[in-house]
Amino acid sequence: MEKRRIYVDNSATTPIHPQVLEEMMPYLTESYGNPSSIHFFGREARKAMDKARERVALGLGAKTEEIYFTGSGTEADNWAVKGVAFANKKKGNHIITTKIEHHAILHTCEYLEKQGFDVTYLDVDEYGLVNPDDVENAINDRTILISVMFANNEIGTIQPIEEIGKIAKKRAVYFHTDAVQAMGNVDINVDKLGVDLLSISGHKIMGPKGIGALYVRKGTRIDNLIHGGAQERKRRSGTENVAAVVGMGKAVQLAVENLDQHVRKMTSLRDALIDGIKERIPHVRLNGHPSQRLANNVNFSFEFVEGEALLLSLDMEGIAASSGSACTSGSLDPSHVLLAIGLSHETAHGSLRMSLGEINTREDIDYILDKLPAIVEKLRALSPLFKQCEGGKVSV
């Protein structure tokens, strides 16, 4: 097979959908008005923003006035957690979250701890699942917020958000979910889920980078994060990134319209890749839940090898993936998610995430399955942790 360029890092970011770019273009060129201006340039931009907001609201089963655009998914997460914490600190100072959240939540919670808030970081099981009973048991009379991610960005595990939503409602605690990875891969309806706040990001769903959105249920007590010129109905200041907002609106619309078809296609590719790796390579571990996982997520640990070496070897074969190895992050510790599901350090260091997207084909999967076994074998031959004994038996 000839060398190809295969992108299986769609949980990091995705290419812009051609229809998204097409809708954005006028707002990057002739329709450059500031939506706050009252002249026709401004009104044009305002109209485009309204339409985008309607599309996002429709995609989440929310009201248009409950959607606020932000500069990223990270900003939406920061706003949800800090905004609710600061607005409700007279009521209490306790926040419940999990050990496997994205750093946008974890580091925000760590910051809040320094500001005097108490944070409970819930454990997850070996598949990365949060137990709703643990959430309920962690609630006390000072609890003001529960934040549990919808789907994990590394191992793809989908959490029982609806169950947690019922608990939050029963105990009258605000409930936020980071749905950045779930959007486009899972059906989302804020009322059905029982969430009060929900974060999404544009560039994970074939929209542009530099745009996110926060759903805030009407009546939720939340402070502003960004102060200034009173944009976004006085909740998030800063001149709106109109083209990106338009792109986000279109991306959400497409993601929701194509959800069933997308999930079918991703599931089929994902399972072919998972089964193919298990068939071809010994001593592998599928990280994450076998069925409660994102349709586009594949995460394996390859025993006795290190993830960065694996990534670079794949890169040389034209395959772009990612890893939870420390060596790819600049820190000495491997992924907090992989450690939280109970992996040893060396197994966590040997993880490889391949996240699929609309651009991927069955030929991509076959190419990966053709190249990966030899790469793993070569690195294992270098590894002092791996000894191939006679008869193919392995001792460590």
Binding site: E306, C327, H345, L382
Partner: protein, 123 residues
Amino acid sequence: MYNETVMEHFTNPRNVGEIEDADGVGEVGSPQCGDIMKIFLKVEDNIIKDIKFKTFGCASAIASSSIMTEMVKGRTIEEALALTNKDVVDALGGLPPAKVHCSVLAEQAIRAAIEDYRAKRGK
């Protein structure tokens, strides 16, 4: 991220393997930090006649091991002991700051193997 020399040693590492009846064996690093380096020595008349390595780690750990084995092969024990991690970094034409610890591991690994050789010899 890595220069050509590092990538070349990562892609085609020299002196990979083990020596069955090694005169000295050194193992450094830990699974915690994601790097383990194991060095096998064959010494004759105070000279490193043969050296092999096995490394669990990232590309820079593998490249550091590989170039270090080239640098000490055929040298005296004293010359090998004088090798520093900076020599390894220089020979590789530089490593990213976050990866310099890999070269430290290479220096520690050859020292550990020589210590083992001296301990065995002293018996």
